[in-house]
């Protein structure tokens, strides 16, 4: 078993048995469902809006090279500098070099899952730079030394008391159970850091090709401070974040907020177009954008699952996923949790080590139904299973399904086998038979009938 799979089994076993934690997550999401439905209802036609959002992403992803070139030319004409990174190592090196060149002593960051994907904080710390997360949830997770639990709500698994204790321990503040006061503690702590930081690192929600701007969505204002206060602004983005036109934001920004956070719009939606120009008072002196591939072009080459690149990282699929709600975010062991993570991680990090994520789904389709850009998520999990069966030999599966097929292609044998099973069930249920024994650990089977349907059909067909 791969490490990632054994971690998954261990963590998901723990959390799925933890009734309190599961109830806490469901309660936390309760408010989201209510607000999401409230604001979805304000759309004249949510399904049509999904079509529009999906089309906006589809048209960019399916002309990716062209749209990216257009974006880069415009972005650089605004005074920014683009750096291309093939993989995580290249991206880390580019950013480390930029930070070194800026003679930085302190680095501040706003929320960016792509930096998690390339493990940037580790690299910066190893190189001796202090780096602080400025998004409240990410700040809390950084203090805990723990990966985000959910890629939109990083610390949704934590109760207020846990956060208060954490602040007392690390910041020496008095215990409180007021969310406002907890927010103010973090705010007072972080405000000083924006001023002293030399480099600010952000992500990007969208790269707008026709204006050469990057669009960042947030609720706390921390990304604006991170981008605007330090001398150097470095943004990191996957190449799939590009969109054709600023007009596309008119559907993508509200959908991102409603689907992801149950908001009509997030509090701050900012477009960044290059560094401070001569005569301007505010803004960074340098503005760098690192564009990351990291296997995205590989996914682009797969016509069946290319639409996974439409993802705007809203997190709607996690919020509705019964697997996520019952095993929590850390079991995945991935940068991107939930259904989208289970779809793309095998592409980004290898099918061999990550195909168990595709198997760990009842294929209920709640994710696909929730996705604002219509990614066919649960069917992609099926395709990953098919792909895995080809490249990762699974002897048990081959024997099991081969044997099953041997039986079902012979109706008389199927009927006989069924009869034997029913007659001997009283004995079989005590034996450690694969699958049957597992089922019976937590569930009963119905009272076993004396006759099958096909046996009874003979008696009733002429009635």
């Amino acid at each position: 078993m791969s490490d990632s799979k054994s971690i998954f089994i261990k963590e998901s076993t723990l959390t799925s048995a933890d009734g309190d934690q599961r109830q806490f997550i469901r309660t936390a999401l309760g408010g989201y469902y209510k607000n999401r439905d409230l604001y979805k209802a304000k759309y004249r036609d949510w399904e049509l809006a999904r079509d529009a959002a999906s089309l906006a992403k589809w048209s960019a992803v399916n002309n990716l090279a062209e749209v990216l070139e257009k974006f880069v030319a415009k972005f650089e004409s605004n005074g920014g500098k683009v750096h291309w990174a093939r993989d995580a190592a290249e991206a880390r090196q580019i950013i480390l070099d930029l930070v070194a060149k800026a003679n930085a002593k302190a680095v501040i960051k706003s929320k960016c899952m792509t930096t998690e994907e390339i493990h940037l904080n580790d690299a910066l710390e190893k190189a001796g730079y202090g780096v602080v997360e400025s998004d409240l949830g990410e700040f809390i997770q950084q203090l805990r030394g723990e990966a985000p639990y959910h890629f939109v709500f990083p610390c949704m698994h934590l109760k207020r008391e846990a956060i208060s204790e954490l602040f007392t321990k690390h910041l020496g503040t008095a215990p409180t159970d007021s969310p406002e006061e907890l927010t103010m503690i973090a705010r007072r702590h972080l405000r000083k850091l924006y001023i002293t930081a030399d480099v600010g690192i952000t992500g990007a929600n969208f790269l707008v090709a026709d204006t050469g701007q990057i669009s960042i969505t947030e609720n706390e204002g921390n990304a604006r401070l991170t981008a605007a206060m330090p001398r150097v602004h470095i943004a990191l983005s996957g190449i799939e974040k590009v969109i054709n036109s600023i007009d596309d934001l008119s559907v993508l920004l509200p959908m991102l907020a409603t689907a992801g956070a149950g908001q009509p719009m997030t509090c701050y939606n900012t477009l960044y177009a290059g560094p401070k120009k001569p005569g301007e008072r505010d803004g960074p002196e340098e503005f760098h954008l690192v564009l990351l591939d990291n296997a995205r072009t590989q996914l682009l080459a797969d016509p069946e699952q290319r639409d996974a690149l439409h993802c705007i990282r809203c997190g709607a699929c996690l919020n509705v996923c019964p697997i996520f709600k019952n095993i929590g975010g850390h079991a995945y062991g991935t940068t991107y949790q939930g259904p989208i993570g289970s779809v793309i991680t095998p592409h980004l990090r290898g099918l061999k080590d990550w195909n168990h994520l595709s198997g760990a789904s009842s294929l209920c389709g709640a994710c696909t139904e929730a996705c604002p850009v219509r990614i066919d998520l649960h069917h992609h999990l099926l395709q990953n299973r098919r792909n895995a069966a080809k490249v990762v030999p699974n002897l048990f599966d081959r024997v099991f399904h081969g044997g099953f097929n041997f039986v079902i292609k012979r109706p008389a044998l199927f009927s006989f086998g069924g009869k034997v099973f029913r007659k001997t069930f009283g004995l079989l249920k005590h034996l450690p038979i694969p699958y049957l024994g597992t089922w019976l650990k937590s569930r009963d089977l119905p009272a076993i009938p004396a006759k099958s349907f096909r046996e009874q059909w003979k008696d009733i067909k002429n009635v």
Binding site: S12, L363, E369, A389, N405, R443, L445, I460, K461
Partner: protein, 242 residues
Amino acid sequence: MRVSLFIPCFVDQLTPQVGLATVKVLKKLGQEVEFIPTQTCCGQPSYNSGQWEIAKEGAIRTLEVFRDAEVVVGPSGSCVAMIKKFYPELLHGTKYEQEAKNLSQRTFEFSDFLVTKLKTIDIGASLNKKVTYHDGCHALRELRLKEEPRKLLRAVKGLELIETEESESCCGFGGLFSVKFPMISTAMVQVKASALSRTGADYIVSSDPSCLLQIGGWLSREGKVIRPLHIAELLAMGIDHV
């Protein structure tokens, strides 16, 4: 109409009463019912496990079974979705593609057949019971059947339908998922079945016998009083009651 029954393999062996009830309701509605005994399993377990080459064999056999059928009706959203939705995808690009599309058109989930094809909502049943409904994921999200079973239930005289916020959430069965990841599957059915149990209904009704196997299996183990019941069984019961 000549209706060819599509009885899921586990219904055949474990819950034949669902098949018998299906026959009873169809006959009550004046349909000529046949059962072709060469049918076994549609191949979904192998399909969902990534063993698509094996699943294709099951699909091709099922195409042969129903080659001459006028319409095919199955009391399972999941197994019907396999034929209706996944066979054409599985056999895409093969010589069976057209036949798969053709069978897809002729195949109906039980409640869909009554409401859409026979245009019958009130089958003349009556039952003084309280029920809550579980939407099987395949019926709901692959076949888009939400209102069809509810229309049938609302037309049963004396029946009270109690809806819950959890009606659309997955029961955690997912075929072999239920035994490959039993801890997650059990956590899911606990959330689902507890919520439905709290309604105080007499029965949890669904158009999917595989979900009912999961929900019923957990309820039985936990000693809950609410019972699982397939919608065909409920309607058949309602016919007797009149």
